[in-house]
């Protein structure tokens, strides 16, 4: 096997003021020629950033991107340009991808001119009409002079696809290519993508949040969560027997269009946290239904637990009095604490321990100590176990359950 695109350990840190958004972190995968590789995850998981980094539309902070054996990570734009004809991208929003002042035909032929592959108008037009026929934009002669506002959403996306294939690329990054289209025409566009792949032996990096479409289309899939790949393997394997609790949760959450299959779902708590401060250890641990005591419990997890305890309908008045308001507490790394003030330190510590004991997660077992230090009471967590990528059958999973 040879590997046309390789990006081991793309560690990307975007500068934003003095903070970093950990958009994508430690992501590594290889695309095989002619395969459809799915990058699946919720919004903000870094799937789009990864796709763009592969095409060098954004520059990774660190890591390597290889395309057809060439390390393209630090190529200059001029050196990159000839390679750009071999890798193309299709964006989610066909309305935004087409210049409203450029006719469909001219838009599709534009890349030929940019790359100097055809100069004479009639050569360009001939190739454009060919590409239009290929993507089903017919009658092509009539549509050639139409403007994006004059055609339907499905036709626009076909034009975007035609523009991508006119350079005869090897790799196409397709970022949610059908998400904006109506259900009744989605299948048509996907079918077209499959036909083009067969015909031109294309390789697709298919970026989507839709697990059902990914299942239908992809050979292999990587599930991303908050900038990391949590599970990667054959599409069939992942759907038959998902390993990572996040993958399991995603599959369970999909609404099933069959009222006979209505069933209560076990869902993870809360939402995807802020990527500026990703959780310690496994980034999914605060929401994970299968979480262990070693997954990465830290100070702010205790604050969340305390908040829940203090605002729940079961709250006891003397708890609120003893533990104080949530604003009295701070969290830093693996510790959380508050100034004791006028409280009885012993009573405070006992209350804290009682709150921990009531946690439904194994957070309590992760606590190293609840102790008075100077004028504060500190809850100190143990350092979590180092998370490693583990091979489980045909899959690579990043989860302590399998380590």
């Amino acid at each position: 096997m040879y590997y046309p695109v390789k990006g081991p350990f793309i560690q990307r840190l975007f500068r934003r003021e003095k903070l970093f958004v950990h958009a994508v972190d430690g992501v590594s995968f290889t695309l095989k020629p002619g395969e459809i590789f799915g990058l699946v995850g919720e919004s903000g998981c870094g799937k789009t950033t990864t796709g763009r980094a592969i095409l060098r539309l954004v520059d990774p902070t660190s890591g390597i991107i290889k395309f057809e054996g060439t390390n393209i990570t630090s190529l200059k734009e001029k050196q990159l340009r000839p390679l750009r004809t071999r890798m193309q991208i299709i964006f989610q929003d066909p309305h935004a991808s087409l210049n409203p002042a450029m006719s469909i035909g001219r838009a599709i032929g534009h890349p030929l001119k940019i790359h100097g592959l055809a100069w004479r108008e009639e050569d360009v037009k001939k190739q454009v009409l060919g590409a239009m026929r290929e993507v089903g934009l017919t009658p092509e002669e009539q549509l050639y002079d139409k403007y994006p506002s004059e055609v339907s959403g499905g036709q626009k996306q076909r034009a975007v696809i035609a523009r991508a294939i006119i350079l005869k690329p090897q790799l196409i990054v397709a970022d949610e290519p059908v998400a904006m289209l109506d259900m009744s025409i989605r299948a048509k566009v996907l079918q077209l993508m499959l036909e083009l792949k067969q015909k031109h032996n294309l390789t697709y990096l298919f970026i989507t949040h839709d697990l059902a479409t990914a299942k239908f289309l992809c050979n292999r899939i990587a599930i991303m969560y908050l900038g990391r790949i949590v599970e990667i393997g054959s599409a069939r394997g992942i759907y038959q027997d998902p390993k990572h609790p996040y993958t399991q949760a995603l599959l369970r959450a999909i609404p099933i269009p069959d009222p006979r299959k209505r069933a209560p779902k076990i869902l993870p708590k809360g939402e995807v946290p802020d990527a500026v401060y990703p959780p310690a250890g496994c980034r999914f641990h605060p929401r994970c239904p299968a979480v262990l005591s070693t997954c990465g419990w830290e100070g702010r997890d205790f604050i969340d637990l305390l908040d829940e305890h203090l605002s729940g309908s079961m709250r006891a008045v003397d708890d609120a009095e003893a533990l104080g308001s949530i604003d009295d507490w701070w969290a830093k790394g693996f510790a959380a604490g508050r100034r004791i003030g006028t409280q009885d330190p012993q009573r405070l510590a006992e209350k804290v321990k009682a709150v921990l004991a009531k946690a439904t997660s194994p957070m309590q077992q992760a606590v190293q100590s609840v102790a008075v230090q100077g004028e504060s009471l500190i809850v100190q967590f143990r350092v979590p176990e180092q998370l490693k990528q583990t091979v489980v059958g045909d899959r690579t999973v990043e989860c302590l359950l399998y380590q």
Binding site: G153, D182, A212, K215, L250, I254, P257, P259, R260
Partner: protein, 301 residues
Amino acid sequence: MGYVHALDDISLDVASGESIGIVGETGSGKSTLGKAVLEILPPRTEVKGSLFFRGEELGQLDKARIRHIRGEEIALIFQDPMTRLNPLMTIEDHFIETIKAHQRVSRHEALARAEAALASMRVPESRIGNYPHEFSGGMRQRIMIALALVLNPSLLVADEPTTSLDVIVEAQILEILEDLKRTYKMSLLLITHNLGIVAEVCDRVAVFYAGKIVEVGSVDDIFTRPVHPYTRLLLQSIIHLDTKELHSIDGVPPDLLSPPTGCRFHPRCPYAQAVCQEKIPPLEQFRKDQLAACHFGKDFL
């Protein structure tokens, strides 16, 4: 220019405590229906027909009564919560304003109700003093729903309430909506393009195409034995986890400035005959409580 007939000859009823799904593609008129119920259609929209709420015809009522019904009895939630919450107001302000606009209660009482509504949506009450931008998308949508529910409406109109949310958060919110529906015996008019959601949440479903209802019936009937060709093809075109083969519907939805004659689906319908071009099919009963607008409906039973 002429008029766009966004909705044409629509008749629909929602029973107390029932949830009905309104499904259709872009331009089918489903959102227009939701706006018509709340009378928030764009200015200069021409509306004909009547709207009854618990036996009262809304067009015949005085302003105060309408204000009561449209403010308290019928509530609305939109797709994008961020554009509906005022960025300069805390969540508490939003609640106080909503409650005080309709009911004479003390601030203390209003606050207590706000906290209860937030708790029912599982939003920590400790965050009531925060501003909208301090919440995540899912939390904002929960707040919007809590705000809609705080006056105990008997009908909730939800226009794509979970479309901008991730699949897990969407499932969380749908679960809460179902709980609320059961607890408060509230009716729900759920407008969505996602048939999976309808199958999971609704009792009945109305399928819209190009401004008309093409089929209406119980969720079980519509999903397992649809009559109208559009319903059948739409259901087949959903890509779900068991999809083995891709299906789509030829053509595109029509331009409503000049809709097709006869059955509006006929240019895309694989079973269309001459009569479909000429005559508008009426909504007829094909099974108990299952109506479809197709000349050949009986062939698809």
